[in-house]
């Protein structure tokens, strides 16, 4: 169990650092989502299911949805801009 926890913690660090260095925003959002899920697992191991369930619903769920939405919105704006440029 201890080993498993250590691996999870290591993964956390890897995720956090790769969030900083990924160029593509979509990838980094997905990495961030997996970061939240890993955190959720660690909290299960630390005997805090309350936190785990909240993190799963709020952190991994809603926060990631919001990130995706933002990205989508930005892409939509970018696309529109390109359309306008092509027309003009």
């Amino acid at each position: 169990m201890r080993l498993f926890e250590c691996i999870l913690l290591l993964c956390l660090i890897v995720c956090a650092v790769s969030v900083a260095f990924t160029r593509d925003l979509l990838t980094s959002i997905i990495i961030f989502m997996s970061y939240s899920l890993l955190m959720c697992l660690i909290w299960m191991i630390l005997q805090s299911p309350d936190l785990a369930i909240t993190e799963a619903a709020v952190g991994a769920g809603v926060t990631s949805i919001l990130f995706f939405l933002t990205l989508k919105k930005i892409r939509a704006i970018r696309k529109e801009e390109q359309n306008e440029q092509e027309e003009g």
Binding site: S48, P49, D50, A52, I53, T54, A56, A57, V58, G61, V62, I65, L66, L69, T70, K72, K73, A76, I77, K79, E80
Partner: protein
Amino acid sequence: MSRRRDNYETSRWLRFKKWVDGETDPLSSGMDAIPVVTEGQMRERRKNLALRKAYDEELTRLSAEHADKTEIMKARGIRNFQKFYKVMSVILCLAIISVLLWTIAALPVTGGADNPANNEVAARYIEKGLQETGAVNIVTGMILDYRAFDTFGESCVLFIASCCVLVLLRLDADSKNDNIKKMIAESDDRHFEPKDDIILQKCACVLVPVIMIFGIYIVLNGHLSPGGGFSGGAVLGSGLILYLNAYGYKKMSRLFTEKVYRRTTLCALTFYCLAKSYSFFTGANHLESGIPTGTPGAILSSGLILPLNICVGLVVACTMYAFYTLFRKGGM
């Protein structure tokens, strides 16, 4: 033979002499305030900005092919700066980490039963929590009864955050401003995704009820099992979002409009506020609150915790859904 000074007019000595004579005043020079940024500087800045943009594009191209050297020379200054920036950030990161690690090394070992954190406070929550709050889940009992003021503050954080998002993203259809009308038209990004996706609808048909029931279960059993208003509310919110995605705004608006959102939030928060005020007031004045705690373990138990969980659940679900719709199209 001393060197001839042909720039006497601008020399420091003359300026000092003038100042001694009272002819100039170093302070009043700023009196005629002109814009700090002149047109030339402005142009320079724009050029720099353009240069940086160009550099970013350049970098991608450079990696693929060899460009001529002048381009690289131009870009080098910016690149050096960016390198410096990166190095600085790594150093800052390492500095913070090392200071905190140094602290950690002096802190008690994790998992020890004798750590200072595990003192009489936690002991009382565990030993008497069940009797005093009626909640089997000690964490829920703690946040909704012992430390209820914090939790009330937390709901207010959520409330005010949703207000801020409303300010930023809500677009009012009856607005007179043409600009906003244009924005409404732009923000309807529905046409970027497939409409009436049958697979999605069928899946949602199955999943939404399950998710909703799960959410309601979490909310209602907050005092008995892990979970509570916040997590359950978030699950409920995601259920609503899934439904919206599958069936579109039109169907959703039959069920859930901005009015519903506002009223639900208002009622839930008002109830929360009044209930907690009552319990704070009675507690501080050493009066009996008169709310039965019921049998521990039963669904209808633990006094105000169950209704409060429901309130929180409603607020969170509505807020999450509101966030989603506001982000999507600036309205409900």
